[in-house]
Amino acid sequence: MSEIKKFLYVNRKAPYGTIYALESLEVVLIGAAFEQDVSLAFLDDGVFQLTKGQNTDGIGIKNFSPTYRALGDYEVTKLYVEQESLDERGLTLDDLQAVVYEDEDDDWEEKPSIRVVSRAEMADIMADQDVVLSF
């Protein structure tokens, strides 16, 4: 297991209506222990997973959105969000919660984990992986 592979977790579904977003996150957290090169892609309805201000008291389902903010502690620091997907949904980066990590290669400076990319860039990212897991 010394080989390092590029893992991409592709998130295309909204949270709460179905469990895929939550169970995707559970894989990411466990996967972090394997020290692979991990990226997360949020496109189509997957971008809704990152909206800020989620409050699930009314539906009685656990709010797991704070967990995204903890990903930096697991050294999961590349969250690619597709611009076109945001646009179609009337969202901007401002509607998403801030997710940051401390860059150990840059004097632990706090940097944003969310990187907004174009559809073409997202296609490039997808084409650069060893393993693609879809949720």
Partner: protein, 130 residues
């Protein structure tokens, strides 16, 4: 007014069983009757007493069992849909030669006729699914 409710998707995977639960609770609190909830398709999986959700999550099966107990709601699990998906009560397990059952208290297995009957005997029918 009498409401019939259909739940078509399994617990946790889809929100259907949660939304239906809040709807039925509200309907009863507002003085309506909910004589029966019919579980069809993957909805039959809601009835599993073997479910062990994380401690900080709701227990969907137990919520329904409590509702049945407190308000006399008849929770009917479709037998044909249940057999395919491995949901059995003690009788069915014996009849099918299976060594275990998994249906929780408050749920009963019966035929699709109970769905049609519910449609005939209630004033409104609401389906929660995928």
């Amino acid at each position: 007014m009498k409401f019939g409710v259909v739940i078509s998707e399994g617990p946790y995977t889809h929100q259907a069983a949660d939304t239906a639960y809040h709807f039925v609770k509200s309907a009863i609190a507002k003085g309506h009757e909910v004589p029966r909830v019919f579980f069809y398709h993957d909805g039959v999986n809601v009835a599993s007493r073997l479910s062990v959700p994380p401690q900080d999550e709701r227990n969907i099966q137990q919520n329904w069992t409590a509702l049945a107990k407190d308000h006399g709601v008849d929770l009917v699990v479709c037998i044909a849909a249940a057999q395919r998906r491995g949901m059995l009560d003690d009788n069915e397990a014996k009849r099918q030669g299976k060594d275990a059952s998994n249906i929780a208290e408050g749920f009963r297995i019966s035929g699709l006729g109970q769905l049609i009957e519910m449609g005939i005997q209630t004033d409104r029918l609401v389906t929660f699914g995928d």
